[in-house]
Amino acid sequence: MMHTLNTRTVVVLLTPLLVLLLAFFLWPLGLVGWTSIYDNGLTFSGYERVASSTLIHRVMGNTLEVSVLATITSLVLGYAIAMHLARMSPRRRGPYLVMVMLPFWTSILVKSFAFTIVLGNAGVVNQFLDWLSGGAWHVEMMFNRVGVIVGMTNYLLPFMVLPILASLQNQNRNLHFAAEIMGAGPVRIFTKITLPLSLPGVFAGCLMCLTLSLGMYITPALLGGRQDMMLANLIDFYTRQTLDWTLASAIAIVLLVFSGLLILMMLRAQNNQEAVR
C-alpha cells in the first residue's frame, strides 16, 4: 500500500484549509497587528501604554496566575476522571463521557446561576455546612478566586480529560501485567508506567487549558470578585467602551506573544522529556 502522496495532491488537498485559515484567521490577526501600530499614521503609543500601565501589568499577572491555577486543578481532577474512564468497559464509558462533555454544551450564564445555587451564600453547600455546624461554618465560594477557579475548571475539564483518556487507552496493558508479575505495587506501576506513558496527553491537555484560560473573559467576570480581572476584560473595555482600538490591539498582541512563549516553553519541556526517555 502506498502511503506517500505526490506534491500536487497534497497542494490540492490542503488548499481549502489554507484559504480558510488565511481568510478567517491570518487576515484578521494581521489586521489586529496593524491596528496596534496604526492610528492615522504609524504609532507605538499602544505598546508604550502597555509597557507603562501598572493596571495592565497587574491584570497580566492576574491572568497568568488564574490560568495556571485553573490548569493545575483541571489536571488533577481531569487525570482522576480519565483514569476512571479508561478502566471502564466501552459500553459504560459512553454515558460518562457525555457527562464530561455536558458543561461544554451549557451556556455560562446558566452555569453561573447554577453555581450560585450550589456554592452561593444561601446555596446547597453552605446550607449543609450550616446544618452540620449549627451556623458556625460558612464558606464564601462565590465572587472570589474560588468561584473563578471552580467555574473555569468546570469549563476546561473536557479539554483535559479527552487527551489524557486517549493516551491512557493507548497504553499496552501487558506492561502493567509484566510489572505486576515482577512485584510492583499499584503506586509504583502508576509512577513508573502509567504516568510517564500518559505524559503526551497531559501536555496536550495542559496546553489547551492554558491557552483557553489565558483568553477567558465571561466566567471570571461573572463568578469572580473585584480583583479577578483578566486581560480579555481589559481588551473588551478598550474595544467596546472607549473605542481605543490601538491600545486594545496592542494588549491583544501582547497576550498572543505571551501565550505563544508559554506554549513554546511547554513544547520544549515536552521535547526534553522525550529526549530523556
Binding site: T54, L55, R58, V59, N62, L109, F113, T116, I117, G120, N121, A122, M142, F143, A221, L222, G225, R226, Q227, M229, L234, F237, T239, R240, Q241, T242, L243, D244
Partner: protein, 361 residues
C-alpha cells in the same frame, strides 16, 4: 494641462449626441444603483429604515409605540435590529457603508460616538427639540429615562430594615446585609457623593476625589461588583445579595413574574436613552423624521405606558395614566437625579481606568 482636462470631460458621458451606447450605459447605472442602494430608489410608500434596539419587552414597546404607528403615518417601514453595538456602528460609518439609520442607545455609547464624530447633526427643521425636559447635544436627542435605585427583597427586609437612600446604603452598621454595586464608575460616583452628603443640585461637576474617598468606605462591604444588568435582580432572587443597585425597568417585570423584589424610589439616578443618526446614512431624512416622531408627546406617553420609562417630553407627562405616573419617579423632586452624560462623555475613560485600578487594589 487644463485644456486636456476639459476635453476629457467633454468626450465622456456628457456628449450632446445620445448614442445607443450611452443610453445603455445610463440604463446600466440606474440598474446598478438599484442593486446597491435598493431602499433609496424604491417609491416613497415602500421606503424603510433600520433602527437599533435592545430586544425583549423594550422591543415590543418600541414596535407598538413608535415603529408601527410611524410606518402607518409615513409609509416608511421600520426594521428593528437587536444587539447593535457601538464598535460595529463605528465600522459602518468609517467604511461609509451604513446599514443602521438610527442608533438607539445609552449615554456612554452615544457620547463616545459623538466624541468620535459618528453622528449627523440633528436637523432641527424636522426634529423639534424645544419641548424636551433634558436638552442635550447637537448630534443626539434624549428620548426617555430609566430610573436606577436600591433594590431589596421586601420579604427578607421589610420597611425600616432596608436602605432607602445612598447614605443609608453606605451605613453598614444600621443596615447590615450583603451589598452589590455595578462594576463601573458612572452612577457609583454619583451615589458615593450623594451618600457623602452632597446636595443633588450641586452634584455636577462631580467632585472626583471626594467621591473616591466615599467609595473607599463602602468598598469592603461590597460582596459583588455586578457585571451584567440582569444579575442586579437575580442575585437578590437567589438570596446571594441583600441590597443591589438596580433598575426599575428590571425590578417591575421581575415582580410581575412573582419574584419578591422592590426598589426604593426615595432617591433615584435617572439615565437618558438617546437616539442618534449616523453619518453617511442612506436614509438620513427618513431617519430624522423617525427621531422627530419618537419625541412627539403622544408617542412618548404611549411608550411609557408599555415599559417603566419616564418621558423626556414635558408635554407627555400630562398624557400619562395615573398608574404610570405613580410608578415613575417624580422628576420635579430634587432627589430624582438625572445623570449628566455630557460630563461623563468627557471624563468616563480616565475615571473608569482609575476605578478599575481602584478595584484591583
Amino acid at each position: 494641462m487644463k485644456s486636456n482636462d476639459k476635453r476629457s470631460v467633454r468626450t465622456g458621458d456628457t456628449t450632446h449626441n445620445p448614442s445607443r451606447r450611452s443610453l445603455l450605459k445610463a440604463a446600466g447605472v440606474i440598474a446598478g444603483t438599484g442593486m446597491i442602494g435598493f431602499p433609496a430608489i424604491v417609491t416613497a410608500q415602500s421606503k424603510s429604515i433600520t433602527v437599533t434596539c435592545w430586544g425583549g419587552a423594550y422591543e415590543a414597546a418600541i414596535r407598538k409605540a413608535f415603529a408601527e404607528p410611524f410606518a402607518k403615518e409615513t409609509g416608511i417601514a421600520v426594521t428593528l435590529v437587536n444587539n447593535a453595538d457601538l464598535p460595529r456602528m463605528k465600522v459602518q460609518v468609517e467604511s461609509k457603508n451604513v446599514s443602521w439609520d438610527v442608533f438607539d442607545s445609552i449615554g456612554p455609547q452615544i457620547m463616545a460616538g459623538a466624541e468620535q464624530g459618528l453622528w449627523e447633526t440633528i436637523d432641527t427643521s424636522i426634529v423639534d427639540t424645544s419641548g424636551l425636559i433634558q436638552q442635550t447635544g447637537a448630534d443626539h436627542v434624549g428620548t426617555y429615562s430609566y430610573a436606577g435605585g436600591l433594590g431589596y427583597d421586601p420579604a427578607r427586609h421589610p420597611d425600616g430594615k432596608h436602605p432607602t437612600t445612598y447614605a443609608e446604603f453606605w451605613d453598614v452598621e444600621k443596615f447590615p446585609g450583603r451589598r452589590g454595586l455595578r462594576s463601573r464608575i458612572s452612577e457609583n460616583l454619583e451615589m458615593a457623593l450623594l451618600a457623602d452628603g452632597v446636595d443633588p443640585k450641586d452634584l455636577y461637576p462631580l467632585d472626583v476625589e471626594r467621591g473616591f474617598k466615599a467609595l473607599d468606605r463602602i468598598k469592603p462591604a461590597i460582596r459583588k461588583w455586578i457585571e451584567t444588568t440582569p444579575e442586579t435582580v437575580t442575585l437578590i432572587g437567589s438570596k446571594e445579595l441583600d441590597f443591589t443597585y438596580t433598575y426599575l425597568s428590571r425590578v417591575l417585570p421581575a415582580r410581575e413574574n412573582g419574584m419578591s423584589i422592590a426598589m426604593s424610589m426615595k432617591q433615584t439616578l435617572n439615565s437618558l436613552e438617546y437616539l442618534a443618526v449616523p453619518k453617511h446614512g442612506k436614509n438620513t431624512e427618513a431617519a430624522m423624521k423617525y427621531v422627530a416622531f419618537c419625541l412627539r408627546p403622544d408617542r412618548q406617553a404611549a411608550f411609557c405606558e408599555e415599559v417603566p420609562f419616564a418621558p423626556n417630553s414635558a408635554a407627555a407627562l400630562d398624557l400619562l395614566s395615573p398608574e404610570v405616573k405613580a410608578r415613575i419617579p417624580d422628576m420635579n423632586d430634587p432627589n430624582a437625579v438625572v445623570i449628566n452624560d455630557a460630563w461623563w462623555g468627557k471624563n468616563y475613560d480616565s475615571l473608569q481606568r482609575r476605578f478599575t485600578e481602584w478595584m484591583l487594589t
